[in-house]
């Protein structure tokens, strides 16, 4: 799952800890999401999208098929 989370966070000059606090999740979870090691559940994906005033598709994208 491709993620633009790191870019969006950097645009707002938020630290990983600050983003974690705003989402109510652990900083390790932010690391996993940004590192594309974990695909969020739908509720968390929508929560993230709402925080950035974006759609889920703006932030997360399935791996492009070859």
């Amino acid at each position: 799952m491709k993620s633009r989370l790191r870019v969006l966070r950097a645009e707002r000059d938020w630290s990983q800890a600050e983003l974690a606090d705003r989402l109510g999740i652990a900083r390790q979870t932010v690391v996993a999401l940004e590192g594309e090691k974990y695909a969020p559940s739908l509720p968390l994906a929508f929560k993230i999208a709402r925080l950035f005033n974006a759609t889920v598709e703006d932030i997360f994208d399935p791996d492009p098929t070859p």
């Binding site: 974690a20 606090d21 999740i25 652990a26 690391v31 090691k37 974990y38």
Partner: protein
């Protein structure tokens, strides 16, 4: 802004520590009372008294699972699955060894083993998501 997962972790460590201390205290008191000769109607209650803090520890674990986020929950559930598997394997293996003269272990060993394996497995499972 307080992070709810960090708060849940701190609360869990506090509750777990309090539960284990209570367990040790009640266990020692229970053993002393049984050795001193508790009247028959109370023997069962006194013998089972250490279960109360164990139940409290399980409630603390359930509260911890309810308060952490979805990835942390997944990591701990995977670690618990690994712990259950390793404990089952060790229990069966040691069962055969008891058949050839190894000292008999009580069922308490499985509880200690699963908790220890959970603690050891969690950091390894978490590495997959870093």
């Amino acid at each position: 802004m307080k992070n709810p997962v960090d708060t849940a972790r701190r609360r869990y460590v506090l509750e777990l520590t309090a539960g284990m201390l209570a367990y040790a205290a009640i266990l020692i008191a229970s053993i002393h009372a049984l050795n001193a000769g508790v009247p028959a109607p109370w023997r069962l209650a006194v013998a089972l008294a250490p279960v109360v803090p164990v139940v409290a520890v399980f409630i603390a674990i359930a509260r911890f699972f309810g308060a952490i986020d979805e990835l942390q929950r997944k990591i701990h559930l995977e670690a618990l699955a690994v712990a259950a598997g390793v404990t089952a394997l060790l229990a069966v293996t040691y069962g055969f060894l008891e058949g050839v003269g190894f000292p008999k272990l009580t069922a308490f060993a499985t509880y200690a083993c699963i908790m220890l394996c959970w603690g050891l497995a969690a950091p390894f499972v978490a590495r997959r998501y870093k």
